[in-house]
């Protein structure tokens, strides 16, 4: 009898506790694209926040391609989906999706000044802060230190130098028995990533940035033509024909098996390339992307990911708290140490622990400060179409459908027509 009463009391007490926590603890759903080991790292990063607040974060993983993610998010947001509370958003999306996100300006007013102003600016649409920065991204040229030393080469300064070194090492390595060796791998699939790659080629040759900040369409010029012709000459010689279907992870696959001399990629590949299962562990370094020769300068496309809170979320308070945590120093530092993701907080570039464990990050500050933004700000809601037309023209050129000059001339006309009387 006493036993039964005891268990009854214990049971109801347990129930009361459970009920109380059920009211307090909230489940936040976070959606993000996933490359490499992002999922595990994210779990580690949010753990302190979960422990502190008692809330739980469920991560919904999405395909790695930013184009695919965007399509899904736009659909969810248009339908007023309340299942997703927090979105991890690409730096270019803010103008297109801002209406569907909560304004974070007030919530973040004390910390805004700690971030790089250019990133905060990129996420501000008509005075509304659509998303808080989580990490920033700027690609670099990865090179095989061991191979360059073996053949007595210096890291290249221009694209032509890069191609020459790549060709030489590739040919000699193949003669030496490594048949699968390639000189250079980049992202050539017809998707947003190709816009990033090609913008770097064009900009580094002095050919502008497709659509200038004032809205002028500038893509049809000799320097841009030269840039695309240069890139076209790589396909099939120093880069595999399959490059035309590669995204980031395909190139990293080839690179990490030790089958490429150079790779253009984002910082995340640095930590993964030095992982235990990597064939190139400790054998590579990075350098700023090459320039287009005379009159050109190195150009890296500004990437980066942010956290935005959905207007339709039913747990907005907790969601905003999560967004603030992820953009804060604790999360960004963990992200830098675990995934070599670049912080957006200026102070972290002087952090001694980051300097020691990820020496690449302080070096990358320079690359990132000179990064070129994609024309998402001037083209506003039409950015995706601009980007798609651009990558299609580049993809056509690389695959030999029309010359660079022909394709860019048509592109210029298409973009001007799309622009109409104004973006």
């Amino acid at each position: 009898m006493t036993f039964r009463i005891k268990s009854l009391i214990a049971g109801s007490a347990l129930f009361a506790v459970l009920a109380a926590t059920a009211v307090k603890a909230e489940e936040i759903t976070y959606v993000s694209g996933a490359v490499g080991n992002d999922l595990e790292i994210f779990k580690q990063i949010v753990k302190p926040w979960e422990e502190k607040t008692g809330n739980k974060v469920t991560l919904v993983p999405m395909p790695a391609s930013t184009t695919d993610q965007f399509g899904q998010y736009r659909l969810w947001l248009a339908a007023g989906n309340s299942d997703i509370d927090v979105y991890q958003t690409d730096v270019i999306w803010a103008p297109q999706l801002a209406d569907q996100f909560v304004d974070l300006k007030d919530a973040a007013k004390d910390v805004i000044k700690d971030h790089f102003p250019s990133i905060i600016e990129s996420q501000t649409v008509n005075g509304k802060l659509a998303a808080l920065p989580y990490f920033t991204d700027a690609p670099a040229l990865y090179y095989r230190k061991d191979l360059l030393e073996k053949y007595g080469k210096q890291p290249p300064k221009t694209w032509d130098e890069m191609a020459a070194i790549a060709k030489e090492i590739q040919d000699k390595e193949r003669e030496g028995g490594n048949k699968d060796m390639w000189g250079f791998v980049f992202q050539g699939n017809a998707y947003e990533g190709l816009t990033c790659d090609a913008l770097e080629w064009v900009k580094s040759h002095g050919g502008g940035q497709i659509v200038e900040p004032d809205g002028t369409v500038s893509i049809n010029n000799e320097k841009a033509v030269k840039a695309l012709e240069t890139a076209k000459s790589w396909v099939g010689s120093i880069s595999p024909d399959g490059s035309l279907a590669y995204q980031e992870e395909d190139t990293r696959g080839i690179w990490q098996k030790g089958n490429a001399v150079f790779m253009r990629n984002w910082p995340y590949a640095y930590a993964l390339g030095n992982g235990e299962d990597s064939a190139v562990k400790g054998k590579f370094e990075t350098v700023a992307l090459p320039s287009g020769g005379e009159g050109g300068q190195s150009a890296a496309t500004l990437g980066g990911w942010n956290v935005a809170v959905s207007k339709y979320s039913k747990h907005q308070e907790a969601a905003i708290s999560l967004a603030l945590y992820l953009s804060g120093p604790e999360a960004q530092k963990m992200n830098a140490l675990l995934a070599s993701h670049l912080p957006t907080l200026q102070a972290l570039y002087d952090d001694p622990e980051i300097k020691e464990k990820q020496p690449i990050i302080p070096q990358w500050k320079e690359v990132f400060l000179n990064a070129v933004p994609r024309p998402s700000a001037p083209t506003k809601g039409k950015y995706n179409e601009v980007s798609s037309k651009f990558w299609s023209a580049v993809h056509d050129t690389l695959s030999g459908k029309g010359t660079a000059a022909e394709n860019l001339e048509v592109l210029q006309a298409d973009l001007e027509e799309l622009k109409g009387s104004g973006w």
Binding site: N259, N384, S399
Partner: protein, 325 residues
């Protein structure tokens, strides 16, 4: 008096008949109602909504604020002061016609090859041999795998650097160097065709097999006794008799092929060489925020399929009944 008296029984009789007829109609209506409601909700309403959207300027970010603009998404023109006329709309969009051409080409080639191969497989499976049940089950596996999964699987197998197909062909000496099957414009359509044929031939085979099993055995016996050549038997007996089954199978497959999306989307880069009608309309609907324009393309896709089906049924009927001969 007489006429009314003579009318009465027949009136009553016809009244009973009518009411029986009415009863049957009424019960048929109630039996069909759930189906009709489901069809209206799942097919008619979305279709009408799409057609409506295609005549507005709706965008995805403001779904309920679109304004009626008539046929401008299909075709519109304005004459400039210089006298030059500018045409706009899907019907003059080269990207759309390129997609139409890709889709039609794909549908024609894939359905033709699948029909021939499916029929061959069905003939083999129709023969008596040990373990036939097992083989019949095994051959269905490609059809049972979800398209996304098989597309991803094939994209790894066809990968230019670590794909097994390149490796096999290199070792056998068929090719001199690794080929980027899905990436290059020259081969990407073939890659899509290959995977689609691999996946759908079992389905065709199954439908053909069902047709083959309907044919009475004694016809073949009679032909054998008469000493008719097997090839002649196939073309004079088998083919005409399974024709109805084959016609249904072909129309099923053609409908599927005309709206192909997943395979192209997963397997190949988003390039002009393989973009189909579904791919391009999705791109406009969602990626480009041109919801109305994408709806117009979806409506055209529907119209193309509807016209095709109508023509096919019409032609098929003529041939099936032998009219007009």
């Amino acid at each position: 008096m007489t006429p009314s008296a003579s009318l009465a029984p027949s009136d009553r009789a016809s009244g009973r008949e009518l009411s029986l007829q009415q009863q049957r109609v009424r019960s048929a209506f109630w039996f069909l109602a759930p189906m009709v409601i489901a069809l209206i909700a799942a097919a008619a309403w979305p279709l009408l909504r799409t057609i409506y959207f295609s005549m507005t300027n709706t965008t995805l970010s403001s779904l309920y604020e679109g304004q009626w603009i008539g046929f401008d998404n299909y075709l519109s023109w304005r004459t400039l002061s210089s006298g030059k006329t500018i045409w706009r709309g899907t019907l003059v969009d080269p990207a759309w016609w390129n997609a139409v051409w890709n889709t039609v080409r794909f549908a024609f080639v894939s359905v033709a090859l699948e029909t021939v191969l499916g029929l061959l497989v069905a003939l083999v499976l129709n023969a008596e041999f040990k373990g036939r049940g097992l083989v019949r089950a095994a051959i269905l596996i490609p059809w049972a795998i979800p398209t996304i999964v098989s597309a991803k699987m094939w994209s790894w197998m066809l990968n230019d650097q670590f794909g097994i197909i390149n490796d096999l062909m290199l070792r056998m000496g068929v090719i001199g160097q690794k080929i980027a099957w899905t990436a290059s414009d020259a081969t990407s359509m073939y890659a899509v065709l290959l995977v689609d044929i691999w996946k759908t031939t079992p389905f065709m085979a199954l439908l053909c097999l069902a047709g083959l099993q309907m044919i009475p055995k004694d016809i073949y016996e009679a032909a054998k006794i008469d000493g008719v050549h097997p090839v002649r038997v196939f073309f004079r007996i088998t083919l005409p008799l399974i024709r109805p089954a084959l016609m249904v199978a072909v129309i099923f497959r053609t409908l599927d092929a005309l709206r192909i999306f997943d395979l192209v989307y997963v397997l190949t880069p988003n390039s002009k060489a393989t973009k189909t009608m579904s791919v391009i309309s999705r791109e406009n609907l969602i990626d480009f925020d041109k919801f109305a324009y994408g709806s117009a393309q979806s409506t055209l896709l529907f119209a193309i399929i509807a016209v095709f089906v109508a023509v096919y049924i019409w032609l098929g009927k003529v041939n099936l009944t032998g009219e007009g001969r």
